[in-house]
């Protein structure tokens, strides 16, 4: 189990890596979205906004109307943000759930593949 603080710390690392990733920046063009993260075990909620190809700071709590909702265990969120967990396997097996339009789900999936090319 990971606390909200640990997830925030991991996210800050992830945020820096993503915002420095020029390959990802290309894919984030014209994709301004609000993503809610729900930790299934602790019930903690977080909000990530993407605007102008930049990931904003993590907000605590579910803020605003989400385009996408990602549900996973707190541990998986922390591992994913530290870059230790490639989410595609857990997504395929249904342990990580993405809810949103087909288009947004496809984009998020592709983006995570690009991020994890360097891991």
């Amino acid at each position: 189990m990971a606390t909200a603080g640990e997830i925030a710390e991991a996210y800050a690392d992830w945020q820096t890596r993503c915002n420095d990733n020029r390959r990802l920046a290309k894919m984030l063009r014209n994709w301004d979205r609000v993503v809610h993260l729900v930790a299934s075990d602790t019930g903690d909620g977080f909000t990530v906004s993407v605007a102008g190809a930049v990931l904003a700071d993590l907000e605590t709590g579910l803020v605003g109307q989400p385009d996408l909702v990602v549900t996973a265990t707190s541990e998986d969120f922390a591992d994913l943000f530290w870059g230790d967990l490639n989410p595609s396997e857990k997504y395929v097996s249904g342990e990580i759930v993405l809810a949103g339009s087909s288009e947004d789900v496809m984009r998020l999936d592709a983006m995570s593949m690009v991020v994890f090319l360097d891991q």
Partner: protein, 455 residues
């Protein structure tokens, strides 16, 4: 009723008609059922699927059929690192995309995403209704890639995926067709993936078993070794003429009359049957414009899946050479090891002249490069060249070229008098796959049942 073709499509059509209480005869050219699905037992006792073999998520009809006949499934082996042969070098990678050239992989992922997003716009049932259908249908997948993907290495990755999925070169496939086809299975990525995609599960004992069981249910209503050569049709029904093998040897023409006919085969095979009166121009032209992909499956059988001990999954992709994609095809109990390789597209056509021994040594050399010298010494080796099969003429599926869907697409499923069209090429969901074969047969049978109800 007559059903021509005892692949999954024809067999499912026939069973559906039979269950509705209608008399049915299935006429099959080969001396076996299953069509493009064929499981062979090697002399050494290995089960090899020479044709269609996988089950993926949302292929609910195939999965129901397996359950009905008690055929178990197991996941395609995936643990360990995959191998990539690129620009003459060997690399290992984890996950779906190679990491040896991250820029190229990122470009390929971005391109695949764009194709996935485009495919959501294209109706798998009626691709020609897309507002931009003509523009999409005058391009090929290859021309789209040339215009939209900068790096050559990324283009190679996409070509490898296209060859593995369609058995055809990107330059042979209409973009509109490729998008509608992919949408029918969910997305292009769904077709490419193993876990979570079209290659996720295999059948214990092979993929042909359900076809054999369906044929058992139909009993002597299935007639083998009787290639249909001609169909006479009119408002009152059809007369089908087959060249039937005789019990004591020899062949003789066999005429079967019926009120309705279901043709369950790819358009290119259908086009070799003569129709009297001739089929409407659009339907005949459709069949002329829909060549089969070209694919050969090779299986190398070893006493054990030795690559697993070296941390390898048995999956390989290559940017050149004969084998562009390889999978671990060992049985569930790993009692022996099997590597399955695909030779597809132009390479498959060119390697005709190499002959079986030439192809075998090329394939084994590439397997050894990927998985180590042991791979060069299989206990058994098989190859199945689908282009050499007169009743498939290629595989895995018909590849529709530019202009076909916008020009003749509406003729794909439109009945011609008493003649109804089945075969996986006519499916809406999972066209090109076993699941699509099943639903296309049931759909054609339902058309006939509806018409029979009004007479």
């Amino acid at each position: 009723m007559v059903v021509v073709g005892a692949g999954y499509s024809g067999l499912c059509a026939a069973r559906h008609l039979h269950s509705a209480g209608l008399d049915v005869v299935v006429i099959e050219a080969r001396d076996r059922v299953g069509g493009r699905v064929w499981t062979e037992l090697t002399p050494g006792g290995a089960v090899v699927d020479q044709g269609g073999q996988w089950l993926g998520p949302t292929q609910d009809h195939l999965s129901a059929l397996a359950e009905e006949f008690g055929v178990a499934t197991f996941p395609t082996f995936l643990d360990g690192a995959n191998v990539e042969l690129r620009a003459g070098d060997r690399h290992e990678f984890n996950g779906l995309v190679p990491t040896s050239d991250p820029d190229a992989s990122a470009d390929a992922i971005a391109a695949l995403l764009e194709l996935d997003l485009l495919c959501l716009e294209v109706s798998p049932a009626e691709p020609w209704t897309h507002p931009d259908a003509v523009r999409l249908d005058q391009q090929t997948v290859g021309s789209w890639v040339s215009e939209n993907v900068e790096s050559e290495a990324a283009r190679d990755l996409i070509a490898t995926a296209v060859l593995a999925v369609y058995g055809a070169e990107p330059s042979e496939l209409s973009l509109l067709f490729a998008l509608g086809y992919a949408h029918g299975g969910g997305s292009m990525s769904a077709l490419v993936r193993t876990a979570g995609g079209a290659q996720e599960l295999r059948f214990v004992g092979g993929a042909q078993q359900m076809a054999i069981r369906l044929a058992e249910v139909l009993g002597d209503r299935v007639v083998l070794d009787a290639p249909v050569v001609g169909v006479a049709h009119g408002p009152e029904g059809v007369t089908v003429v087959a060249d039937r093998g005789q019990a004591g040897g020899g062949r003789a023409p066999w005429r079967v009359g019926a009120q309705w006919l279901v043709m369950a085969m790819p358009p290119a095979v259908q086009s070799r049957v003569s129709f009297e009166p001739p089929l409407p121009g659009a339907r005949d032209q459709l069949a002329q414009h829909a060549p089969m992909g070209s694919v050969t499956k090779v299986h190398a059988v070893y006493d054990e899946p030795f690559w697993r001990q070296n941390g390898l999954s048995g999956q390989m992709i290559a940017d050149a050479g004969a084998l562009r994609a390889v999978f671990d095809d060992s049985p569930d109990d790993a009692s022996h090891g099997i590597l399955l390789g695909f030779i597809a597209g132009h390479t498959d056509r060119r390697l005709e002249s190499a002959g079986p021994d030439g192809r075998r040594s090329i394939a084994l050399e590439e397997l050894a490069r990927s998985f180590g010298p042991r791979a060069a010494q299989p206990a058994e080796f098989t190859e199945q060249r689908w282009s050499a099969e007169p009743y498939s003429r290629g595989g895995p599926v018909a590849c529709f070229g530019p202009g076909l869907l916008t020009g003749c697409g509406e003729a794909l499923r439109a009945p011609v008098g008493p003649i109804h069209w089945a075969g996986t090429e006519t499916a809406v969901a999972w066209s090109g796959y076993i699941d699509g074969a099943i639903t296309s047969g049931i759909r054609a049978a339902d058309e006939v049942i509806a018409e029979a109800g009004t007479r």
